[in-house]
Protein backbone atom coordinates (compact mmCIF):
# COMPACT_ATOMS: atom_id res chain seq x y z
CA UNK A 1 0.00 0.00 0.00
CA UNK A 2 1.52 3.28 -1.02
CA UNK A 3 1.92 6.12 1.45
CA UNK A 4 -0.44 8.36 -0.52
CA UNK A 5 -3.19 5.70 -0.57
CA UNK A 6 -2.78 5.15 3.16
CA UNK A 7 -3.02 8.90 3.75
CA UNK A 8 -6.21 9.08 1.68
CA UNK A 9 -7.72 6.13 3.53
CA UNK A 10 -6.95 7.58 6.96
CA UNK A 11 -8.39 10.93 5.89
CA UNK A 12 -11.56 9.14 4.75
CA UNK A 13 -11.86 7.26 8.05
CA UNK A 14 -11.27 10.49 9.96
CA UNK A 15 -13.91 12.42 8.06
CA UNK A 16 -16.48 9.60 8.47
CA UNK A 17 -15.67 9.43 12.18
CA UNK A 18 -16.02 13.20 12.61
CA UNK A 19 -19.36 13.18 10.78
CA UNK A 20 -20.57 10.35 13.02
CA UNK A 21 -19.43 12.23 16.15
CA UNK A 22 -21.24 15.34 14.94
CA UNK A 23 -24.40 13.34 14.22
CA UNK A 24 -24.32 11.70 17.63
CA UNK A 25 -23.83 15.08 19.29
CA UNK A 26 -26.78 16.45 17.36
CA UNK A 27 -28.92 13.48 18.38
CA UNK A 28 -28.09 14.09 21.99
CA UNK A 29 -28.85 17.80 21.93
CA UNK A 30 -31.99 17.62 19.76
CA UNK A 31 -34.31 15.97 22.32
CA UNK A 32 -33.34 18.40 25.04
CA UNK A 33 -34.27 21.39 22.80
CA UNK A 34 -37.59 19.75 21.92
CA UNK A 35 -38.21 18.97 25.57
CA UNK A 36 -37.63 22.58 26.67
CA UNK A 37 -39.80 23.87 23.81
CA UNK A 38 -42.50 21.40 24.78
CA UNK A 39 -42.32 22.47 28.44
CA UNK A 40 -42.55 26.15 27.56
CA UNK A 41 -45.50 25.46 25.22
CA UNK A 42 -47.28 23.54 27.97
CA UNK A 43 -46.58 26.36 30.42
CA UNK A 44 -47.91 28.97 27.97
CA UNK A 45 -51.07 26.91 27.36
CA UNK A 46 -51.55 26.52 31.11
CA UNK A 47 -51.12 30.25 31.70
CA UNK A 48 -53.63 31.02 28.98
CA UNK A 49 -56.16 28.54 30.38
CA UNK A 50 -55.67 30.06 33.82
CA UNK A 51 -56.14 33.58 32.48
CA UNK A 52 -59.27 32.53 30.58
CA UNK A 53 -60.76 30.82 33.65
CA UNK A 54 -59.98 33.79 35.88
CA UNK A 55 -61.43 36.23 33.34
CA UNK A 56 -64.65 34.22 33.12
CA UNK A 57 -64.80 33.96 36.91
CA UNK A 58 -64.51 37.74 37.15
CA UNK A 59 -67.29 38.20 34.57
CA UNK A 60 -69.45 35.47 36.13
CA UNK A 61 -69.22 37.16 39.51
CA UNK A 62 -71.10 40.17 38.15
CA UNK A 63 -74.87 40.06 37.55
CA UNK A 64 -74.39 41.00 33.89
CA UNK A 65 -74.21 38.84 30.80
CA UNK A 66 -71.19 38.71 28.47
CA UNK A 67 -70.42 37.55 24.94
CA UNK A 68 -68.14 34.58 24.21
CA UNK A 69 -66.46 33.57 20.95
CA UNK A 70 -65.84 29.86 21.43
CA UNK A 71 -63.52 29.30 18.47
CA UNK A 72 -62.80 25.57 19.04
CA UNK A 73 -66.57 24.89 19.15
CA UNK A 74 -67.25 27.41 16.32
CA UNK A 75 -69.94 29.09 18.44
CA UNK A 76 -70.93 32.54 19.56
CA UNK A 77 -72.59 32.60 22.97
CA UNK A 78 -74.03 34.88 25.60
CA UNK A 79 -73.32 33.66 29.12
CA UNK A 80 -74.66 34.79 32.47
CA UNK A 81 -72.95 33.64 35.68
CA UNK A 82 -71.04 31.09 33.62
CA UNK A 83 -74.20 29.53 32.14
CA UNK A 84 -74.97 29.61 28.42
CA UNK A 85 -78.16 31.63 27.87
CA UNK A 86 -77.93 32.22 24.10
CA UNK A 87 -75.90 30.37 21.47
CA UNK A 88 -75.53 30.11 17.73
CA UNK A 89 -73.00 28.39 15.49
CA UNK A 90 -70.77 30.82 13.59
CA UNK A 91 -72.32 30.52 10.13
CA UNK A 92 -70.51 32.46 7.43
CA UNK A 93 -72.40 34.84 5.18
CA UNK A 94 -72.71 33.64 1.57
CA UNK A 95 -69.76 35.59 0.14
CA UNK A 96 -67.47 35.12 3.12
CA UNK A 97 -64.17 33.25 2.86
CA UNK A 98 -63.88 30.21 5.17
CA UNK A 99 -60.50 31.44 6.44
CA UNK A 100 -62.18 34.57 7.84
CA UNK A 101 -63.15 32.90 11.12
CA UNK A 102 -59.60 32.03 12.11
CA UNK A 103 -58.40 35.45 10.86
CA UNK A 104 -60.98 37.09 13.13
CA UNK A 105 -59.87 34.95 16.11
CA UNK A 106 -56.22 35.80 15.45
CA UNK A 107 -56.97 39.53 15.11
CA UNK A 108 -58.98 39.48 18.37
CA UNK A 109 -56.10 37.67 20.12
CA UNK A 110 -53.62 40.14 18.63
CA UNK A 111 -49.91 40.24 19.42
CA UNK A 112 -50.49 40.48 23.17
CA UNK A 113 -52.74 37.42 23.47
CA UNK A 114 -55.83 39.44 24.34
CA UNK A 115 -58.75 37.30 25.55
CA UNK A 116 -61.13 40.04 26.68
CA UNK A 117 -62.28 43.06 24.71
CA UNK A 118 -65.19 45.46 25.21
CA UNK A 119 -67.56 46.34 22.40
CA UNK A 120 -66.73 49.86 21.27
CA UNK A 121 -69.54 50.50 18.78
CA UNK A 122 -72.40 49.06 16.73
CA UNK A 123 -74.26 50.23 13.69
CA UNK A 124 -77.64 49.16 12.33
CA UNK A 125 -77.93 49.33 8.54
CA UNK A 126 -81.43 47.96 7.98
CA UNK A 127 -84.12 46.62 10.30
CA UNK A 128 -87.75 45.61 10.31
CA UNK A 129 -90.32 46.34 13.04
CA UNK A 130 -91.36 43.17 14.89
CA UNK A 131 -94.90 44.46 15.38
CA UNK A 132 -96.61 46.81 12.94
CA UNK A 133 -97.20 50.36 14.21
CA UNK A 134 -100.98 50.10 13.86
CA UNK A 135 -101.18 46.88 15.92
CA UNK A 136 -98.75 48.31 18.45
CA UNK A 137 -100.84 51.45 18.86
CA UNK A 138 -103.85 49.29 19.84
CA UNK A 139 -101.76 47.17 22.25
CA UNK A 140 -100.11 50.25 23.79
CA UNK A 141 -103.50 51.82 24.34
CA UNK A 142 -104.86 48.64 25.95
CA UNK A 143 -101.93 48.23 28.35
CA UNK A 144 -101.29 51.95 28.98
CA UNK A 145 -97.74 51.77 27.65
CA UNK A 146 -95.56 53.85 25.36
CA UNK A 147 -95.53 52.13 21.89
CA UNK A 148 -91.82 52.89 21.41
CA UNK A 149 -91.00 50.85 24.53
CA UNK A 150 -92.93 47.85 23.23
CA UNK A 151 -91.43 47.85 19.72
CA UNK A 152 -88.55 45.56 18.78
CA UNK A 153 -86.40 46.16 15.70
CA UNK A 154 -85.36 42.93 13.99
CA UNK A 155 -82.05 43.68 12.30
CA UNK A 156 -81.48 42.73 8.70
CA UNK A 157 -77.88 43.93 8.73
CA UNK A 158 -75.66 45.42 11.44
CA UNK A 159 -72.10 45.37 12.69
CA UNK A 160 -70.51 45.14 16.11
CA UNK A 161 -67.11 46.80 16.58
CA UNK A 162 -64.35 45.96 19.09
CA UNK A 163 -61.94 48.69 17.97
CA UNK A 164 -58.52 48.05 16.35
CA UNK A 165 -60.36 47.45 13.06
CA UNK A 166 -62.13 44.34 14.38
CA UNK A 167 -65.73 44.10 13.23
CA UNK A 168 -68.43 41.44 13.09
CA UNK A 169 -71.06 41.94 10.39
CA UNK A 170 -74.36 40.16 11.02
CA UNK A 171 -77.04 39.53 8.44
CA UNK A 172 -80.45 37.92 9.02
CA UNK A 173 -83.06 36.85 6.48
CA UNK A 174 -85.60 39.61 7.18
CA UNK A 175 -86.22 42.43 4.76
CA UNK A 176 -85.74 45.69 6.55
CA UNK A 177 -85.59 49.36 5.76
CA UNK A 178 -82.68 51.70 6.25
CA UNK A 179 -82.92 54.25 9.04
CA UNK A 180 -80.51 56.51 7.14
CA UNK A 181 -79.59 55.53 3.56
CA UNK A 182 -77.00 58.32 3.35
CA UNK A 183 -75.23 57.25 6.53
CA UNK A 184 -75.39 53.61 5.40
CA UNK A 185 -73.60 54.55 2.17
CA UNK A 186 -70.97 56.47 4.12
CA UNK A 187 -70.43 53.58 6.59
CA UNK A 188 -70.13 51.01 3.78
CA UNK A 189 -67.65 53.14 1.82
CA UNK A 190 -65.67 53.92 4.95
CA UNK A 191 -65.19 50.20 5.65
CA UNK A 192 -64.32 49.46 2.04
CA UNK A 193 -61.76 52.27 2.14
CA UNK A 194 -60.25 51.00 5.42
CA UNK A 195 -60.35 47.27 4.57
CA UNK A 196 -56.91 47.06 2.93
CA UNK A 197 -55.24 48.76 5.92
CA UNK A 198 -55.26 45.96 8.49
CA UNK A 199 -58.97 45.87 9.29
CA UNK A 200 -60.50 42.44 10.05
CA UNK A 201 -64.14 41.93 9.21
CA UNK A 202 -66.10 38.72 9.70
CA UNK A 203 -69.46 38.41 7.95
CA UNK A 204 -71.91 35.95 9.50
CA UNK A 205 -75.57 34.97 9.27
CA UNK A 206 -77.97 34.69 12.21
CA UNK A 207 -81.64 33.83 12.65
CA UNK A 208 -83.75 36.99 13.05
CA UNK A 209 -84.48 36.40 16.75
CA UNK A 210 -80.77 35.75 17.40
CA UNK A 211 -79.82 38.93 15.55
CA UNK A 212 -82.41 40.87 17.57
CA UNK A 213 -80.91 39.71 20.88
CA UNK A 214 -77.30 40.23 19.80
CA UNK A 215 -78.01 43.73 18.51
CA UNK A 216 -79.75 44.73 21.73
CA UNK A 217 -77.08 43.39 24.11
CA UNK A 218 -74.15 44.77 22.10
CA UNK A 219 -73.87 48.04 24.00
CA UNK A 220 -70.62 49.99 24.30
CA UNK A 221 -68.40 48.38 26.92
CA UNK A 222 -70.18 44.98 26.74
CA UNK A 223 -67.44 42.44 27.58
CA UNK A 224 -66.46 39.83 24.99
CA UNK A 225 -64.35 36.82 25.84
CA UNK A 226 -62.35 34.84 23.30
CA UNK A 227 -61.71 31.12 23.67
CA UNK A 228 -58.91 30.85 21.12
CA UNK A 229 -58.22 27.98 18.77
CA UNK A 230 -54.48 27.35 18.46
Amino acid sequence: MSKIRLKKLSLGVLSVASVMIMMSCRDETAPSTDKSADTSDKRAAMEEEYQLTQLELALANTAKSYLVFDMPANKIEIRLKGAVVWEYPITLDDDEDSAAISAFGKAFYGGKGQLLRPITDKYLFEASDKTSDSVLAIIADAVNANPSLLQRKIPEHFFVDWGDGLKLYIRSNVTGTAASPLKNTYMRWKDKFKAPFGETYLHIKLEPEGALTLYRVAEKGYPTLLIPKH
Partner: protein, 217 residues
Amino acid sequence: MRIFRIIMAVLIIAAIIVFFIIDSKKGKEEYIITHTDTDKIESQIPKLPEDQKAATAELNKAKKALKKIKPVKSYIVIDTHANILSLRTEEKVLFKGNCSTGSGGELVDSLTGRKWVFNTPKGVFKVNSKLTDPWWRKPDWAFLEEKEDIPNDENSRYDPEMLGEYAMGFGNGYFIHGTIYERLIGVSVTHGCVRLGTDDLKYIFKNINIGTPVYIF
Protein backbone atom coordinates in the same frame (compact mmCIF):
# COMPACT_ATOMS: atom_id res chain seq x y z
CA MET B 1 -61.95 75.85 -16.55
CA ARG B 2 -59.36 73.10 -16.22
CA ILE B 3 -57.70 74.82 -13.24
CA PHE B 4 -61.12 75.15 -11.57
CA ARG B 5 -61.72 71.39 -11.99
CA ILE B 6 -58.28 70.59 -10.53
CA ILE B 7 -58.90 72.88 -7.54
CA MET B 8 -62.31 71.30 -6.96
CA ALA B 9 -60.82 67.78 -7.13
CA VAL B 10 -58.04 68.71 -4.67
CA LEU B 11 -60.58 70.27 -2.30
CA ILE B 12 -62.81 67.17 -2.39
CA ILE B 13 -59.86 64.84 -1.74
CA ALA B 14 -58.67 67.09 1.11
CA ALA B 15 -62.18 67.11 2.62
CA ILE B 16 -62.37 63.29 2.45
CA ILE B 17 -58.94 62.94 4.11
CA VAL B 18 -59.86 65.41 6.91
CA PHE B 19 -63.18 63.58 7.41
CA PHE B 20 -61.47 60.22 7.80
CA ILE B 21 -58.82 61.62 10.15
CA ILE B 22 -61.50 63.19 12.41
CA ASP B 23 -63.57 60.02 12.26
CA SER B 24 -60.69 57.72 13.18
CA LYS B 25 -59.69 60.00 16.11
CA LYS B 26 -63.26 59.99 17.38
CA GLY B 27 -63.26 56.17 17.32
CA LYS B 28 -60.01 56.01 19.31
CA GLU B 29 -61.37 58.27 22.07
CA GLU B 30 -64.39 56.00 22.56
CA TYR B 31 -62.14 52.98 22.48
CA ILE B 32 -59.98 54.30 25.32
CA ILE B 33 -62.99 55.19 27.46
CA THR B 34 -64.78 51.87 27.04
CA HIS B 35 -61.62 49.83 27.56
CA THR B 36 -61.25 50.89 31.19
CA ASP B 37 -63.41 48.22 32.84
CA THR B 38 -62.02 45.23 30.99
CA ASP B 39 -58.47 46.51 31.58
CA LYS B 40 -59.34 46.65 35.28
CA ILE B 41 -60.57 43.05 35.21
CA GLU B 42 -57.41 41.90 33.43
CA SER B 43 -55.11 43.74 35.84
CA GLN B 44 -56.79 42.07 38.82
CA ILE B 45 -56.07 38.52 37.63
CA PRO B 46 -53.48 36.86 39.90
CA LYS B 47 -50.32 35.42 38.35
CA LEU B 48 -49.88 31.68 38.04
CA PRO B 49 -47.12 30.47 40.44
CA GLU B 50 -43.75 29.61 38.86
CA ASP B 51 -43.66 26.18 40.51
CA GLN B 52 -45.39 23.66 38.24
CA LYS B 53 -47.13 21.76 41.04
CA ALA B 54 -48.44 24.94 42.65
CA ALA B 55 -49.50 26.24 39.23
CA THR B 56 -51.49 23.07 38.48
CA ALA B 57 -53.19 23.29 41.89
CA GLU B 58 -54.05 26.98 41.30
CA LEU B 59 -55.49 26.25 37.84
CA ASN B 60 -57.61 23.38 39.17
CA LYS B 61 -58.85 25.62 41.99
CA ALA B 62 -59.97 28.29 39.48
CA LYS B 63 -61.66 25.67 37.25
CA LYS B 64 -63.48 24.24 40.26
CA ALA B 65 -64.67 27.71 41.30
CA LEU B 66 -66.09 28.33 37.81
CA LYS B 67 -67.74 24.91 37.69
CA LYS B 68 -69.36 25.61 41.05
CA ILE B 69 -71.08 28.73 39.66
CA LYS B 70 -72.53 26.94 36.62
CA PRO B 71 -75.91 25.17 36.86
CA VAL B 72 -75.74 21.40 37.30
CA LYS B 73 -79.16 20.40 35.95
CA SER B 74 -81.73 22.09 33.69
CA TYR B 75 -82.41 25.81 34.01
CA ILE B 76 -84.88 28.37 32.68
CA VAL B 77 -83.58 31.17 30.44
CA ILE B 78 -85.63 34.29 29.75
CA ASP B 79 -84.40 36.47 26.90
CA THR B 80 -86.14 39.81 27.52
CA HIS B 81 -84.79 41.20 24.23
CA ALA B 82 -86.48 38.67 21.94
CA ASN B 83 -89.18 37.66 24.49
CA ILE B 84 -88.20 34.00 24.43
CA LEU B 85 -88.32 31.55 27.33
CA SER B 86 -86.34 28.33 27.14
CA LEU B 87 -85.66 25.37 29.36
CA ARG B 88 -82.19 23.99 28.79
CA THR B 89 -79.11 22.27 30.12
CA GLU B 90 -75.54 23.38 29.38
CA GLU B 91 -75.54 21.02 26.39
CA LYS B 92 -78.96 21.36 24.79
CA VAL B 93 -82.23 23.28 24.60
CA LEU B 94 -85.14 21.18 25.87
CA PHE B 95 -87.89 23.70 25.16
CA LYS B 96 -88.19 27.12 23.52
CA GLY B 97 -91.28 29.33 23.31
CA ASN B 98 -92.45 32.90 23.07
CA CYS B 99 -93.18 34.83 26.23
CA SER B 100 -93.93 38.40 27.28
CA THR B 101 -91.72 40.38 29.63
CA GLY B 102 -91.76 43.84 31.24
CA SER B 103 -92.65 46.89 29.16
CA GLY B 104 -90.17 49.20 30.83
CA GLY B 105 -92.99 51.70 31.32
CA GLU B 106 -93.36 53.92 34.38
CA LEU B 107 -96.33 54.83 36.52
CA VAL B 108 -96.41 57.61 39.12
CA ASP B 109 -99.12 58.01 41.75
CA SER B 110 -99.83 61.74 41.58
CA LEU B 111 -101.27 61.76 45.12
CA THR B 112 -98.47 60.01 46.99
CA GLY B 113 -95.57 60.34 44.52
CA ARG B 114 -95.03 56.58 44.51
CA LYS B 115 -93.35 55.38 41.32
CA TRP B 116 -93.31 51.98 39.60
CA VAL B 117 -91.02 50.88 36.75
CA PHE B 118 -92.36 47.82 34.94
CA ASN B 119 -89.18 45.94 34.15
CA THR B 120 -88.50 42.21 34.38
CA PRO B 121 -85.53 41.91 36.75
CA LYS B 122 -82.28 40.66 35.19
CA GLY B 123 -79.89 38.23 36.85
CA VAL B 124 -80.09 34.75 38.33
CA PHE B 125 -83.05 33.65 40.47
CA LYS B 126 -84.60 30.39 41.63
CA VAL B 127 -88.13 29.08 41.36
CA ASN B 128 -89.41 29.38 44.94
CA SER B 129 -93.09 28.45 44.51
CA LYS B 130 -95.34 26.41 42.20
CA LEU B 131 -99.03 27.27 42.27
CA THR B 132 -102.00 25.64 40.53
CA ASP B 133 -105.05 27.81 39.66
CA PRO B 134 -103.43 30.92 41.17
CA TRP B 135 -105.42 34.01 42.06
CA TRP B 136 -103.95 37.43 41.38
CA ARG B 137 -103.88 39.87 44.25
CA LYS B 138 -104.06 43.17 42.39
CA PRO B 139 -101.41 45.61 43.65
CA ASP B 140 -102.10 49.35 44.03
CA TRP B 141 -100.64 50.15 40.60
CA ALA B 142 -103.24 47.93 38.89
CA PHE B 143 -106.03 50.19 40.20
CA LEU B 144 -104.11 53.41 39.48
CA GLU B 145 -103.46 52.24 35.93
CA GLU B 146 -107.20 51.66 35.41
CA LYS B 147 -107.87 55.06 37.02
CA GLU B 148 -109.83 53.34 39.80
CA ASP B 149 -109.76 53.99 43.52
CA ILE B 150 -107.56 51.72 45.59
CA PRO B 151 -110.05 49.55 47.57
CA ASN B 152 -110.00 49.27 51.35
CA ASP B 153 -111.60 45.85 51.16
CA GLU B 154 -108.89 43.19 50.67
CA ASN B 155 -111.35 40.83 48.91
CA SER B 156 -111.82 43.35 46.08
CA ARG B 157 -108.20 42.84 45.09
CA TYR B 158 -108.46 39.19 44.05
CA ASP B 159 -108.82 38.07 40.44
CA PRO B 160 -109.11 34.30 39.77
CA GLU B 161 -108.68 34.48 35.97
CA MET B 162 -105.75 36.76 35.17
CA LEU B 163 -102.77 34.42 35.86
CA GLY B 164 -103.99 31.36 33.96
CA GLU B 165 -103.71 27.77 35.24
CA TYR B 166 -100.24 27.86 36.81
CA ALA B 167 -97.78 30.28 38.36
CA MET B 168 -94.15 29.84 39.34
CA GLY B 169 -92.65 32.46 41.63
CA PHE B 170 -89.00 33.51 41.39
CA GLY B 171 -88.81 36.12 44.15
CA ASN B 172 -89.91 39.67 45.03
CA GLY B 173 -93.46 39.03 43.80
CA TYR B 174 -92.38 38.11 40.27
CA PHE B 175 -93.97 35.06 38.62
CA ILE B 176 -93.95 33.08 35.40
CA HIS B 177 -97.67 32.67 34.73
CA GLY B 178 -100.40 32.40 32.10
CA THR B 179 -102.57 35.12 30.64
CA ILE B 180 -106.02 35.85 29.31
CA TYR B 181 -104.37 37.99 26.59
CA GLU B 182 -102.67 35.19 24.63
CA ARG B 183 -102.51 37.30 21.47
CA LEU B 184 -100.04 39.63 23.16
CA ILE B 185 -97.49 36.86 23.82
CA GLY B 186 -94.17 37.90 22.27
CA VAL B 187 -94.67 41.61 23.00
CA SER B 188 -93.10 43.33 26.02
CA VAL B 189 -96.35 44.28 27.72
CA THR B 190 -96.11 43.00 31.29
CA HIS B 191 -95.54 44.78 34.57
CA GLY B 192 -92.43 42.68 35.22
CA CYS B 193 -93.82 39.14 35.41
CA VAL B 194 -93.23 36.67 32.58
CA ARG B 195 -96.32 35.51 30.67
CA LEU B 196 -96.55 32.27 28.71
CA GLY B 197 -99.20 30.74 26.47
CA THR B 198 -101.38 27.96 27.98
CA ASP B 199 -99.58 24.92 26.48
CA ASP B 200 -96.08 26.29 27.05
CA LEU B 201 -96.97 27.19 30.66
CA LYS B 202 -98.18 23.65 31.28
CA TYR B 203 -94.97 22.15 29.84
CA ILE B 204 -92.71 24.37 31.95
CA PHE B 205 -94.77 23.80 35.12
CA LYS B 206 -94.55 20.01 34.70
CA ASN B 207 -90.83 19.98 33.89
CA ILE B 208 -89.31 22.23 36.55
CA ASN B 209 -88.96 21.94 40.30
CA ILE B 210 -88.72 24.35 43.19
CA GLY B 211 -85.08 25.41 43.14
CA THR B 212 -84.73 25.37 39.33
CA PRO B 213 -82.49 28.34 38.42
CA VAL B 214 -84.00 31.16 36.34
CA TYR B 215 -81.50 33.15 34.22
CA ILE B 216 -82.90 36.44 32.95
CA PHE B 217 -80.96 38.70 30.57
